[in-house]
């Protein structure tokens, strides 16, 4: 069967790709566009490692078909820093030692940014529930939650 031609925007760049019908956005990001910062942990939407935003909305890219990216705007971990300036969340993850193996980190960062865009002053509980879709098996979440709360504080300028 022929492939589909898709035109989309990834991290602000216009991108075209060919994909099979059943390929997910995650498959295309990783295998066709070689943006491997977005991770595959389960392919069933349960672990959050593949979190990206689609027109600003947080999604598991393993649950989005690649053809659905047509005409949309996708943001991945590769677009999170602005040049040499890491995003506040990225910097706080470094300062708080909020990562270990790091496989969940891109997804957690994308999800946390999405939270802070909606709620600049989340409570600890709100951060925990927002990130409940992102599994981390190394950290016990402690330092991740601290880093997100600290990033929120800095972004609010307090």
């Amino acid at each position: 069967m022929g492939k589909h031609h898709v035109t989309t925007t990834v991290n602000g760049d216009a991108v075209e790709f060919l994909c099979e019908t059943q390929q997910t956005l995650l498959d295309v990001l990783r295998d066709e566009l070689r943006l491997t910062g977005t991770k595959e942990g389960c392919s069933t939407g349960d672990c959050g490692a593949c979190s990206v935003t689609l027109d600003g909305r947080l999604v598991c890219s393993c649950l989005v078909l690649a053809v659905e990216a047509q005409g949309r705007s996708i943001e991945t971990i590769e677009g999170m820093a602005a040049g040499e300036n890491l995003h506040v969340l990225q910097r706080k993850f470094l300062e708080h030692a909020a990562l270990q193996c790091g496989i969940c980190t891109p997804g957690v960062l994308i999800a946390a940014r999405s939270l802070l865009e909606r709620n600049p002053n989340p409570s600890e509980q709100e951060v925990r529930y927002w990130l409940a879709g992102n599994l981390c098996r190394c950290t016990g979440y402690h330092k991740i939650i601290e880093a997100v709360l600290d990033a929120a504080r800095e972004m609010r300028g307090v």
């Binding site: 491997t36 990225q90 030692a97 270990q100 980190t105 600890e124 601290e146």
Partner: protein, 766 residues
């Protein structure tokens, strides 16, 4: 011949601080490359056909239709791999038998579990590879199966291995059994000990298998060339051991396989074993193309990891004042499809925290129709501790003795004779218990339906074969090559920090990498919490060798006797009190002229590190139990642990917090669920529920530092101890909250409700 470097207390500038870890920026920007992130030009995609049965004889395999599918480049089955004789090798804490390794990576006579590999194909795309799997015809004769460990031990249980006679029983049994091995540790006179007891408590516990649950599925990429060389990129805890095993099962020279470890997305013992690696090399050999193989989460659950489910019987006697007089345990562990569970370690750990005269521990290693178990963080110890620490708690309660005080009265200390062999050296169990008792958490008030539990844990920690190499660059910075896989805990950072401390330079002047198998001498797998202990020792030895060369260069340049040159504060200086005077030279100054004074300066070490210091932890947990739903909520959690020395305290805290939460998952939610057909019903993160952020509170940590006398910086290792105590601590807290003791793991809502119901007055005990 082994290596120990004595601990010397000194003022520290780098060790104990919290610098940025070298792999961190790559991990927050998506640059870090894990197993599935590697690709080669022309690569093919490999997929595995797996058994849909728990137990079946393979009558025949027909791959002709799959091979005929356009895009399919090769198929391998049992016919493509040599059979292996019985030969044992160490893998992490566990021992493997190559006869079993070759059968686990590809079934031969029988499939022994749901998910057991039967064939593998490689094709130009994943969709073609999947289609090819559907075209392979396997004729199975389905056999009766057994999953439960107690059932598997019965004489009439379905047999996995018709030629398996229990090892460790004399005389040799006259009929085969699922009990692969029986072990026994005895010390003192158990019966006399029980006769002296004023109180004897005996309980039976059952645990389900749980998975390590690393978020990165196994992934590898192999390229085999026409001159018989193979390159392999894989997510592994031990690339040298993977190289050795691949060489063995593929009958290749070790030198012809080069393994480059990728960044590893979690392991916890689950990435100690080869699975797809030899298949990928074999498929590459057959297809003449690079082959990439990535497991799905379903495959990870069905065919890799898990730890044993177990049946544990514990009986302890003590005097009225809480002195243990006798302790007995029987540990029956599922090994999975092949013998070799963690029951030996569990048996040795079971009571080692206590100074006991009379002990008997029996362990049974039992084959069942489940994936072959892999190591899981302090393998076996949490299961044994669940039983022992629950019984200890019950005894303390019945004698109205504070549970930490009860443990202190029996605590192991320096000189305690273990029942499995050595006497314990300088350990910090008593210090850890005392720190826990003094913590504000321990005496904080509790509300209704809330309870507090404590439990302690012991782990050996290990040393073993390790190498490291470093180069002093021309500007005085250091490039450090490690053979120890940084399995996530930050051992790369810790080792670079120890090197920086030795040279007297800043941590960021040392750049570590994990080198491939062709760059360094053999390194054992990262297991047994050995990374920072053994790797650190090798790094210190390498640094000291380079510093010796630096001193020699300065003696030569300044024309002074070598004995008059000391290394201090990052510089070669005149020895204190020596008659010679010369202007000191910094590392950068010496490095800048190294080319003219004899060539570049390097240090390396190839050691067998010994003298690992055991680790002890005490956990305090508060829970609230909802009597209507059976839900247990974790309200507060404190981890207290002796690590010897925390090189990078933030990542030591990370180990405590991560281990505690993994243990909370084990205690409350996680389990493999099987149907009557022996098929796992929850091979995914939706139904196999690991803790999420909203399930847990902040985890408080107290780092205890009783230096290990056999490590230059006092390191013991810290990664495994934190998972030992949670199950027992939570069971004790639930009992404290609602007066009902849970002896079944996981302590999920249905089980808690059932336990509450069973404890109602008038209800017959089951």
């Amino acid at each position: 011949m082994s290596t120990m470097i004595k601990y010397v207390a000194k003022e520290l500038k780098v060790v104990g601080t919290r610098p940025l870890r070298p792999d961190a920026v790559d991990k927050v920007t998506g640059r870090a490359r894990y197993g599935a992130d590697y690709a080669l030009p022309g690569q093919l995609i490999g997929k595995v056909l797996r058994s849909p049965h728990a137990h079946a004889r393979i009558r025949s395999i027909d791959t002709s239709a799959a091979q005929a599918l356009p895009g399919v480049k090769a198929v391998v089955t049992r016919e493509d791999f040599a059979d292996m004789p019985v030969e044992y090798a160490a893998v992490g804490e566990l021992v493997v038998n190559f006869r079993d390794v070759t059968r686990n990576m590809m079934a031969r006579e029988k499939v022994l579990y749901d998910g057991h590999p039967v064939a593998a194909v490689v094709a130009t795309s994943e969709s073609i590879a999947r289609e090819a799997l559907r075209l392979i015809k396997v004729d199975y004769e389905v056999l009766p199966h057994v999953i439960d460990v107690v059932e598997a031990m019965q004489p009439d249980a379905p047999l996995l291995h018709e030629d398996q006679y229990t090892i460790g029983v004399t005389p040799k049994p006259d009929r085969p059994s699922n009990i692969a091995k029986r072990i026994e540790f005895v010390r003192g006179d158990l019966e006399a000990g029980f006769r002296r007891a004023d109180l004897i408590v005996e309980r039976e516990f059952n645990t389900k298998p749980v998975h390590q649950g690393y978020i990165e599925p196994q992934a590898c990429l192999a390229s085999y060339t026409e001159d018989g060389q193979a390159e392999l990129w894989t997510s592994t805890q031990g690339h040298f051991v993977f190289r050795a095993q691949c060489a063995k099962v593929l009958q290749m020279d070790v030198a012809k396989i080069r393994v480059t470890p990728t960044e590893i997305g979690g392991g916890f013992g689950g990435k100690n074993n080869i699975y797809n690696e030899p298949l990928a090399i074999a498929l590459s050999r057959k297809s003449h193309r690079p082959v990439k193989m990535v497991m799905t989460r379903d495959e990870v659950f069905r065919a890799t990891g898990p730890t044993s489910g177990a049946n544990v019987k514990v009986k302890i006697g003590c005097t009225r004042d809480g002195r243990i007089t006798a302790a007995q345990a029987e540990l029956n562990f599922q090994a999975g499809a092949f013998g070799g569970s963690s029951v030996p370690m569990a048996s040795m750990c079971a009571f080692t925290r206590y100074d006991l005269d009379n002990v008997r521990v029996i362990g049974n290693d039992v084959t069942v129709n489940r994936p072959k178990v892999a190591a899981y963080r302090a393998p076996g110890a949490p299961i044994a501790a669940f039983g022992v620490e629950s019984v200890i708690d019950e005894m303390a309660k019945r004698l109205a003795i504070d549970p930490i005080e009860f443990r202190l009265r029996n605590a192991a200390k320096e000189g305690t004779q273990t029942y499995y062999g050595p006497k314990l050296g300088r350990i910090g169990y008593i210090e850890t218990l005392e720190k826990a008792r003094a913590h504000p958490h321990y005496n904080a008030p509790l509300g209704p339906n809330q309870g507090r539990g404590v439990a302690s844990g012991f782990w050996f920690n290990i040393g073993s074969e390790t190498s490291a190499s470093l180069n002093v660059n021309e500007d005085g910075t250091i490039s450090l090559m490690l053979g120890i896989i940084d399995v996530a805990g930050g051992s790369r950072a810790a080792m670079a920090m120890m090197v920086a401390e030795e040279f007297g330079i800043a941590a960021d002047k040392v750049r570590p990498i994990v080198a491939d198998t062709s760059s360094l001498g053999f390194n054992f797998i990262t297991a047994g919490s050995r990374g920072t202990f053994a790797g650190g020792m090798a790094c210190v030895a390498a640094a000291r060798q380079a510093i010796e060369k630096l001193r020699q260069r300065v003696a030569q340049i300044r024309e002074v006797p070598l004995g008059h040159v000391v290394w201090k504060d990052g510089r070669a200086q005149p020895a204190e009190g020596s008659a010679t005077s010369f202007s000191p030279m910094s590392l950068a100054e010496i490095a800048s002229v190294a080319g003219k004074t004899g060539g570049s300066i390097a240090g390396h070490a190839e050691i067998n590190a010994q003298g690992a210091g055991p680790g002890f932890g005490v956990h305090i947990v508060d829970v609230e139990v909802d009597r209507q739903t059976g839900l247990t909520r974790i309200l507060r959690y404190t981890v207290v642990q002796d690590v010897g020395k925390a090189i990078h305290p933030a990542y030591v805290e990370g180990q405590f917090q991560g281990g505690a939460v993994q243990g909370i998952g084990w205690a409350l939610n996680e389990e493999y669920v099987y149907g009557p057909d022996g098929i796992q019903q929850n091979p995914g993160f939706l139904d196999y529920r690991v803790p999420v952020a909203s399930d847990v509170p902040f985890i408080d940590t107290v780092i205890v530092e009783v230096p290990n006398p056999n490590h230059p910086y006092g390191v013991r290792g810290c990664g495994e101890v934190p998972i030992i105590s949670p199950m027992a601590a939570i069971a004790n807290a639930i009992e404290n909250a609602i007066g009902v003791r849970l002896c079944e793991q996981p302590m999920s809502p249905p089980r808690v409700l059932k336990a509450i119901e069973d404890a109602l007055p008038g209800k017959a005990k089951v």
